[in-house]
Amino acid sequence: MSKLTVEHLSKRYPGGLLALDDVSIEVREGEFLMLVGPSGCGKSTLLNIIAGLEKADEGQVLVNGVPIKGPGPDRSLVFQDGALFPWLSVRQNVEFGLRQAGVAKSERLDRARRVLGRVGLRQFENHAIHELSGGMRQRVALARSLVLEPGIILMDEPFSALDALTREDLYLEMQDLWRDQATTVVFVTHNVREAVTLGDRVILMSARPGRVQEVFDVEIIRPRQIDDVDVARMAQRISTSMKEGPSAAHETAQKTSLLRTPRLRLGDLS
């Protein structure tokens, strides 16, 4: 059974235009899935629906086979601007979700410190948010989600507002974290290179209406860097597809294969 299933999801904009049109996706446990597409393809809307912040007009979202009922710490969301609380210190921000869950103070402290350590910000635990750089803030935002030990982490263009150098550092850090972590991730980005650098699988969506256009398995060896040749090559394939846009035959082929074909991975063979 897959970790996350999106079944025939459709959503309309207030005017009646389709933001999402019959989107179906399956995400395996521990998979790092990227959602890529041009503006207006509905990838952020899709993420919000999975997070429970928005409701679909048709279809449903299942986590471990159970339909979701609303937002919750089992599907933690990392926002583009971090959405950290400026009235709390770094550590208090990370502890926030644990407080909501009623975790005891000493345990909260412990867990928050450990996660801050893993993102390399342990010594900043008492700093105010405004004292951190953009990259540091996003790491705190990530820590805030990680500490909840969610089944799924959703990330909405978390690195888009950062400079290129910071982003490159974060790509390596994330791949490092995920080597031991293996939480299921759904990551939205408009940056195709970023998608190939981080993702196990890349779903390309097309715009107006938002649909799944094509799915790419990324089997490049890790750790990957944004300027690796393999990464660049695959990114180009995807970009070309994106520019060409959907073709009818292509679409139907992808739609049927998505829900049926089991994904064979190198690990499965041993």
Binding site: L53, P71, P73, L77, A83, F85, F96, Q100, A128, L148
Partner: protein, 215 residues
């Protein structure tokens, strides 16, 4: 005039009057805060509240606080409750409006982030909306304080006995310029004191945590 100031001080008149005025304004002010802050948050977050009470609040805003005095005197008589009512009505609206506007201007991601972390119901108000709107609440509090003080002074000047306003008026009745000026100086001093010590330190604290005003 310095002589009058010292004289009024030493025979306790000034201190008594200050105590009376402060007692009234603080009581009214804190009542306004206690009502205005939750009300402002409610108006910002609940459409039904905005639809029903919103226009009422907007209406009251255009009524100068002194206009409440005749009503208060008729309702409560010539006593402290009347002046309390005027002080509350004077500052309540400005506090409510500032808080409401502050909460409405909060980035929506705060609430969304909190929801994804499992925050629900009353906790959203106490642990997210309230702390997030502290800068707006402080602005409202400062505004409310000056309105409260103004309402008090007009009340004391016109009808109510005791207090600094009354002392001021007495100075006029006695044609005692130095008394008038002395009371004015005290009022100014009180204002500067609250501004720099109380509001000033609160603002500095907020600025440190929030990083407002830093480049």
């Amino acid at each position: 005039m310095g002589g009058t100031l010292v004289h009024l001080f030493s025979d306790g008149t000034l201190l008594d009057a200050t105590a009376v005025s402060l007692r009234r304004v603080l009581a009214g002010y804190f009542i306004s805060l206690a009502i205005g802050v939750p009300l402002g948050i409610l108006l910002a977050r609940q459409q039904w509240a905005e639809d029903t009470l919103g226009s009422l609040v907007a209406g009251f805003q255009s009524l100068p606080s002194i206009c409440w005095l005749p009503l208060a005197l008729l309702w409560f008589g010539l006593n402290d409750r009347a002046i309390l009512f005027v002080v509350v009505m004077g500052s309540l609206v400005s506090i409510t409006t500032s808080v409401r506007d502050g909460v409405m201007n909060l980035p929506p991601t705060y609430v969304r982030a909190a929801r994804t972390m499992g925050t629900r119901g009353l906790r959203m108000y106490t642990e997210v909306l309230l702390p997030a709107s502290l800068p707006a609440i402080l602005t409202g509090a400062k505004l409310g304080w000056s309105y409260a003080w103004r309402a008090l002074m007009s009340g004391e000047l016109l009808f109510v006995s005791l207090g600094l306003g009354h002392l001021l008026m007495m100075g006029r009745d006695l044609a005692d310029m130095s008394q008038v000026l002395s009371v004015m100086i005290v009022i100014i001093a009180l204002g500067l004191l609250t501004d720099s010590i109380i509001f000033g330190s609160l603002e500095r604290h907020l600025r440190r945590t929030w990083g407002l005003g830093t480049a």
